[in-house]
């Protein structure tokens, strides 16, 4: 696998000359330090598009990166050093206190004119994104670990726009030292002192519709995926599409995930009515209307979550929606009939009105060729005229170990957990720690508190230098606390095996790891889905016999006497967690 920075030539970028929206030179930078992972990705894309993308291949679609300026890491260093922020940053102070102190600090004088020039020339929304050095060095996904802030940048006064941009940059800098980020970096066996942050100030690809600004379609696609859907094979790749900003996909909210090789095949669902329930019903946009309450340390200060009805009023469902007919329990293509709209993206994936799927496959192949490894890409699209804003590329770490699990192994007396629906691939044989949500104490209404308790347990285990198996109920990482425990990745970053289960009192469609999919892939975390109604059950009595290391109201952390053996066959989706000893009752036989 090549590092992205190794493939980028300096032709791809140029020093910021205070012209931001420059179609000839979309990638510009300020300063002289490192670019950071995300910016390297964008430079790589720019390089690849200009050197290897045949412009006549998809003549009806413009493919480009968004216009952007990167503040390189020397700007971050100067900001931290001149304002003497390291002490508070490394302290145990709360995230909000750190964010507040960073807001009080002054940005380096030498970049202020550049920032001022941006807001004086641009009146459309800007995304201010983190671009971490460790992210680049480790090939590891830091998605969702550091902050991204969207600002509408449409205030009448340039002063106001400048202030908002400065606040957003300081917030992204502060997020380097938020609790979740520190824990995440610890989990990568690095130290937060090594971390440096670039900041990307980039055009938001999209359009203004009433008081909202968003792309009619955003997406994430992976050229290789052990995430299984129907008859797809891992090497065929998967894509997820959503209406609005990509936050929907990154957050793990409902979106349309399909196999790139079989774009017409919908995700598994019991019925069209169930499919309607599973698909995206709200979307994220930048709020261009009435200013929200002032809150510079909130990532979502300028974001708005809107409904499909609002999207229909905006006229942005043209390429995304179908309509559900309750009488016939069928989904019909397009918006021609009355009824609930369903985001199936049929105009693109079934009718191929715009060859989006072909373009995604082409771009993935192009990037795979250039990096020598499977890749994940992010994009956003606007239509009429059609443009694909190529937002990100990341090389993926893919486990290639060949694992076989016999049917007998799934049933034996040493089975702690088994499942036919497992994401991941490989064998672990050194994990002794198990963290589980106590089944008798679990209630969905407590899921937020469970997340908080997990954060502390995770921290203790990571501090000891260990990893663990995590077992709980509902969709891990769900935004909706009634569907599962709403953890962020950083709160469970020490987990190497995650099990999601259901209970009679918690019957939900399991996520199969979709909320953390890329994190699972890169950290080689296996993800087991175990419905209580299925063939395989969790051996709760065995767990209760293990040595308790820590117990809270909802969580138990136990340690097995001998390491567990975790085996996952990524090709069949079969997996099993085995204990070192046989079940007690079997010994009695």
């Amino acid at each position: 696998m090549k590092r992205l920075s190794d493939t980028v030539t300096t032709d791809a970028m140029r020093q910021f000359d205070r012209e931001f929206a420059d179609p000839e030179h979309r990638f510009k930078f300020v300063g002289s330090g490192a670019l950071g992972g995300k910016a390297q990705g964008l430079a790589f894309i720019q390089n690849t598009l200009s050197s290897a993308f045949p412009s006549d291949r998809f003549p009806q679609i413009e493919v480009s990166i968004p216009s952007l300026a990167v503040l390189r890491t020397d700007v971050f260093d100067a900001f931290i050093e001149r304002n003497k922020l390291l002490e508070v940053a490394m302290s145990d102070a709360s995230d909000s206190f750190i964010a507040y102190r960073f807001q009080q600090a002054e940005l380096p004088a030498e970049i202020l004119g550049d920032l001022r020039a941006i807001v004086e020339r641009v009146r459309t929304p800007l995304a201010v994104r983190s671009s971490s050095v460790l992210e680049d060095a480790l090939y590891e996904p830091f998605a969702g670990v550091y902050a991204t802030k969207m600002i509408p940048n449409n205030q009448h006064s340039a002063d106001e726009r400048f202030r908002k941009l400065a606040e957003a940059i300081k917030f992204v800098y502060a997020s380097t030292y938020f609790k979740t980020a520190k824990e995440y970096v610890d989990a990568t066996r690095n130290t937060i002192e090594e971390e440096k942050m670039g900041v990307i100030i980039q055009e938001v690809v999209g359009g203004r519709f009433n008081d909202r600004f968003y792309p009619p379609i955003s997406g994430v696609a992976r050229s290789f995926s052990y995430y299984r859907s129907g008859r797809s094979r891992p090497e065929e790749g998967m894509a997820s599409l959503a209406l609005g900003l990509g936050k929907t996909i990154v957050n793990g909210e409902p979106c349309w995930t399909y196999s790139l090789a079989h774009p017409r095949v919908p995700p598994p669902a019991a019925s069209p009515a169930e499919l309607v329930e599973q698909t995206q019903s709200t979307f994220w946009a930048v709020n261009m209307g009435k200013p929200p309450a002032y809150d510079p340390i909130a990532e979502t200060e300028y974001l708005v979550n809107a409904s499909l009805t609002e999207a229909e009023q905006d006229g942005t469902l043209r390429y995304a929606a179908s309509t559900y007919d309750a009488h016939s329990d069928r989904i019909s293509l397009g918006l021609g009939t009355q009824g609930p709209r369903v985001l199936t993206f049929d105009p693109l994936l079934v009718i191929n009105e715009v060859p989006v799927n072909d373009l995604i496959k082409f771009l993935l192949a192009l990037c795979e060729q250039a990096t020598g490894s499977p890749v994940e890409i992010e994009f956003a699209m606007t239509f009429d005229p059609h443009r694909l804003g190529f937002l990100q590329v990341r090389p993926m770490v893919v486990a290639t170990e060949y694992v076989q699990i016999s049917p007998g192994e799934m049933q034996g007396g040493r089975v702690l957990v088994a499942s036919e629906t497992v994401q991941g691939n490989g064998v672990y044989d050194s994990i002794r720690d198990i963290v589980f949500v106590k089944p008798d104490a679990f209630q969905a209404k407590h899921s937020v508190r469970i997340a908080e308790e997990l954060e502390s347990v995770n921290r203790n285990i990571v501090t000891e230098g260990n990893t663990f198996v995590l077992i709980g109920f509902g969709r891990w990482g769900s935004q909706d606390p009634w569907l599962g425990v709403p953890v962020r990745w950083g709160q469970i970053a020490g987990a190497r095996v995650i099990v999601e289960a259901t209970l009679p009192a918690m019957v939900v469609e399991l996520s199969q790891g979709s909320h953390f999919f890329h994190n699972l892939m890169s950290f080689r975390v296996s993800y087991f889905s175990v419905p209580h109604t299925g063939e395989f059950q969790i051996d709760w009595p065995w767990l209760d016999r293990q040595e308790i290391r820590q117990e809270t109201q909802f969580i138990k952390h136990v340690r097995a006497r001998k390491p567990l053996i975790v085996k996952v066959d990524g090709r069949t989706g079969r997996g099993v967690i085995l204990t070192a000893e046989r079940r007690k009752e079997e010994h009695c036989e």
Partner: protein, 426 residues
């Protein structure tokens, strides 16, 4: 030998530009002399019981583009011609950076070293009492200058507000930060010099990190110029400063690059560097004018006027490519010609050091609305204002094949003359 008269120099400069612009006679007659002059006396009861009468001035050169703006100088050798020249230069300086202000200057013939704090306060208040009807936030806005300081400005403001019965923080700029001053004022002039150097280097296709500089002076302007120049990657190898004890200047050189913080720690309140401490820190101590002949790309005279002359211009190292005038009038016209012939890129004083007045304008705006900006905002605006001014001058110089100084004058005089015409004055 004819004595140095800055007013005659200012008028000669104006005449030359007026010829270049083919300015009509009425505009010439209006702009080559001040619009108004105030001469007055200020009686002060001294600490010893006597009464001393001081001579005060305020000259308003032109206010077609907005309220007058200019400092108040306390100097024993102050003359009306100096104040006239400086008022005229303020008009051009405000115009070149395109802030909506005219040009003024004031002064008192006195030596503040010989005045107690109480006497100085009486002098400040007395100056305001004499002129208070003809200055103000919408008429003419004073500021500190030679030997006046933020405390003096605050006494003047207090007197003005007492006379006019209200709060008028926009009457004066250069106030202390705690009472209506602006963030960034301290840094503004020095930073402004470096903003123009940065842009000049871009035009010369040079990276700041591959350049070195030598600076005359280590006062406020020089210190902040050094700070920002280093932050954009440059290396300062030599600075000079006046030594009060020896009554001479010295240059302090370190080939590997001076360290701003350590020199600052060895500096007194007036920018004088302690020779012994500097030597201990590994600096070579050279004669005061050695700063000029250093092997560097950038020269920044940031101390006094008339420092680069026909006599010493030849000593400038062949490597020099930029001269940024942080001080007012550091280069004589003869030296100017020599430097131009050597293709040295000159950043003329009223462009290069206009960061100060630009920030004063920001202070006035903030004071008038009684709403103050943070430092990021002030310095961001300063950068874009200075950068825009540089490019306007540089574009004109390139297009019209003019020296930078002439191009800057052409822009300023044109703008002021146009404002006079638009108002129907000429």
């Amino acid at each position: 030998m004819k004595s140095y008269n800055p007013y005659e120099i200012a008028q000669a400069q104006f005449d030359r530009i007026a010829d270049l612009l083919k300015l009509d006679q009425a505009a010439r007659d209006l702009l080559r002399v001040p619009t108004r002059e105030y001469h007055f006396t200020i009686p002060v009861h001294m600490d010893d019981g006597s009464v001393q009468v001081f001579q005060g001035f305020r000259v308003q050169h032109n206010d077609a583009r907005g309220p007058g703006k200019g400092g108040i100088r306390f100097h024993p050798l102050e003359t009306i011609d100096t104040v006239r020249a400086l008022a005229m230069w303020m008009t051009w300086k405000c115009a070149v950076v395109d802030v909506p202000l005219g040009g003024s200057k004031g002064g008192v013939v006195c030596d503040p070293h010989n005045l107690s704090a109480r006497e100085t306060e009486q002098l400040c208040r007395g100056w305001v009492r004499q002129i208070s009807r003809d200055v103000g936030p919408h008429l003419d806005v004073p500021a500190p200058d030679i030997m006046t300081n933020p405390q003096n400005m605050l006494w003047m403001l207090d007197e003005y507000e007492a006379i006019h019965g209200g709060k008028y923080p926009g009457f004066i700029t250069g106030k202390p930060l705690s009472v209506g001053g602006s963030q960034g004022r301290k840094e503004a002039t020095g930073y402004g010099v470096v903003f123009t150097i940065r842009e000049a280097l871009k035009e010369l296709n040079r990276e700041p990190r591959n350049t070195t500089a030598s600076i005359q002076g280590f006062g406020n302007v020089a210190q902040h110029a050094i700070q920002l120049y280093e932050r954009i990657g440059g290396t300062v190898v030599c600075v000079s400063s006046w030594n009060q004890a020896d009554q001479t200047a010295y240059s302090f050189r370190k080939a590997s690059g001076i360290r701003y913080e350590e020199l600052l720690a060895a500096t007194d309140a007036f920018g004088g560097i302690d020779v012994a401490k500097a030597r201990d820190l590994g600096y070579e101590i050279l004669p005061g004018d050695a700063w000029l002949e250093q092997d560097v790309e950038i020269l920044i005279p940031a101390a006094l006027e008339n420092q680069i002359t026909q006599e010493n211009a030849a000593r400038i190292h062949p490597r020099a490519i930029v001269l940024a005038e942080g001080a007012n009038g550091p280069t004589s016209p003869e030296a100017d010609t020599i430097l131009s012939e050597r293709n040295i890129f000159i950043l003329p004083d009223f462009l290069a050091n206009a960061g100060g007045v630009t920030c004063s304008y920001f202070e006035q705006v903030q004071s008038n609305m009684n709403y103050y900006w943070d430092k990021d905002e002030v310095l961001g605006k300063l950068d874009t204002k200075m950068t825009a001014a540089f490019h306007a001058v540089s574009d004109l110089a390139r297009n019209q094949k003019l020296p930078m100084r002439d191009a800057a004058y052409v822009i300023s005089v044109s703008r002021v003359a146009q404002a006079c015409r638009d108002r129907g004055w000429v």
